[in-house]
């Protein structure tokens, strides 16, 4: 690995994004609009908005980064630039870290805006520190980037890559405790939800929502999400092959 090449890659990814202002606007604004929508859907029950709103602050960065990364790396594979880069003295880690860094920065902007909006203007009532919310959101974004990178190896076209979103994200969304508490699910489903990383992302948000201090459960949730992200990133790196058939 080489820091300069990682930074150059991150700068290049951001420069590509800058030529596409519509995508930036969608990535940054859609989560904010969804939160506003949610706030007034639950106009009569602010407690429900607190729970769902906090969970969504963790889920949005995951979904956005998943989509963006899977399409971006798929493009890199199909345009031949990946083959070109891997024939150059670029380590796979440089490429992956570059993508994670670039989209991590976008995730920070997105999460800061969404969290700020939810807490300041929409009256989301959080007992713990907003910085912890931001930290979990960032870890979630990293997990989304990792998952996107990984599935892009199995998609032959952008059309297929988009189809991976419901396949990879929706089951986690249904089982993460957003719609029903996980301990009230059918035991098999509860067991499955125990091994899905999004469950921990949402748990972490709820810990911040309810407790003023960093709890042991919060630390566990953060470590699980970060560990999953690193694991999937490693798997993703294994799908980048210098030699292909």
């Amino acid at each position: 690995m080489n820091g300069a090449r990682t930074l150059a890659t991150a700068a290049r990814v951001l420069r590509q994004l800058r030529h596409d202002p519509r995508s930036i606007a969608l990535m940054i604004l859609v989560p904010c609009l969804m939160l506003v929508l949610l706030r007034y859907v639950f106009d009569g029950s602010p407690r429900t908005f607190d729970t769902i709103g906090a969970s969504l602050l963790g889920i949005f960065p995951l979904i956005t980064m998943f989509l963006v990364t899977s399409i971006a790396t798929l493009r890199e594979r199909t345009s031949g630039t990946l083959e070109r880069l891997l024939a150059m003295p670029l380590a796979k880690g440089d490429l992956i870290a570059g993508y994670a860094l670039a989209f991590g920065l976008v995730a920070i902007v997105q999460s800061t805006l969404a969290t700020g909006l939810a807490l300041r203007l929409l009256g989301l009532d959080v007992v713990g520190s907003p910085w912890l919310l931001l930290l979990v959101a960032l870890l979630d974004a990293l997990l989304g980037t990792a998952l996107g990178l990984f599935v892009s190896a199995f998609a032959a076209s952008e059309f297929q890559a988009v189809q991976f979103m419901p396949a990879v994200i929706f089951p986690q969304l249904l089982l993460c405790g957003l719609f029903a508490p996980r301990d009230q699910m059918q035991p098999v489903l509860e067991a499955i939800s125990d091994v899905l990383p999004m469950s921990y992302a949402v748990d972490g948000m709820n810990e911040v929502l309810r407790h003023p201090d960093i709890t042991a459960a919060f630390v566990r949730d953060g470590l699980v999400v970060a560990g999953c992200a690193l694991l999937v990133l490693t798997l993703g790196a294994a799908t980048l092959r210098r030699r292909t058939a």
Binding site: N2, T81, L90
Partner: protein
């Protein structure tokens, strides 16, 4: 253009029993050939004959390569070769959503990384832009350029690190005659002035006359490995194209002969 310098390695590329399998098809069948350093070698043959696969094997991106393949004194695909080879794929591989200069800046940062090389990078990018005659389009988005211009951006990327070996897969496809002539002049300049070895594939036979040496391929095999003059003389034909057709007919006749025997 004959003033090529003797390199430390006697050959730039040396293949022995080179075989490549893709899926259940053997694309290259036990090739033996040598590419001399500091010269322009043409790789010619009909599309589908294995030119691209051979090039991918040389730059080390092709899987399932068996036999011996030494490039610049290292086994093909060796990590030490990655900064010494420039490779241009058939389809231009550049970022459409970056400008020409931004594309070159990024690939230069990968090849010549670090703060210490900042000046070298700027020089390399400017020279590459000049080489492919795209200085006036430096700030245009690559995706907005014409097909020929995009393939020249792709070529410029390969020229960035002053590679010792340039592997160019059909670099002149779809270009007008003036540009084609300019590019071939550039190839010869790179070989003569920078001492680089060039391997250029094409399926247009008139380009064969512009090469120092030729590898003629057909169906995963090498039909001839010689200079254009020798090929014309040996087959007693006026052009390389005729020599190639003569060799193909002879190979077809050889392949058909045992078949007719068995049908009798």
């Amino acid at each position: 253009m004959v003033n090529y310098s003797e390199s430390a390695t006697p050959t730039a590329i040396l293949a022995h029993g080179l075989t490549v399998v893709r899926g259940d098809r053997t694309v290259l069948r036990g090739l033996d050939f040598a590419v001399p350093p500091g010269r322009v070698t043409g790789l010619l043959g009909p599309s589908g004959c294995g030119k691209s696969t051979l090039m991918r094997a040389i730059v080390g991106t092709q899987a399932k390569v068996t036999g011996t393949l030494d490039v610049l004194g290292h086994p093909a695909g060796d990590a030490a070769l990655r900064s010494r080879i420039g490779y241009v794929t058939q389809a231009p591989s550049v970022y459409d959503d970056l400008t020409v200069r931004q594309n070159l800046d990024y690939f230069a940062a990968v090849l010549l990384s670090g703060r210490a090389h900042r000046e070298d990078r700027r020089t390399a990018v400017d020279r590459a832009l000049h080489d492919v005659d795209l200085t006036s389009h430096a700030d245009a988005l690559a995706g907005r350029l014409s097909g020929g211009q995009r393939s020249r951006v792709s070529l410029a990327v390969a020229l960035l690190g002053t590679p010792e070996l340039l592997v160019l897969d059909e670099p002149t496809v779809g270009l007008d005659p003036v540009l084609r002539r300019d590019l071939w002049n550039l190839f010869h300049r790179i070989a003569a002035d920078r001492g680089a070895t060039l391997l250029v594939s094409s399926h247009v036979m008139d380009e064969a006359e512009r090469c120092h040496r030729l590898l003629l391929m057909r169906e995963g095999e090498i039909l001839a490995d010689d200079t254009p003059e020798a090929l014309r003389r040996r087959n007693d034909t006026p052009t390389v194209e005729d020599a190639f057709l003569h060799l193909v007919d002879a190979a077809n006749a050889r392949a058909a002969a045992p078949l007719e025997e068995s049908q009798r």
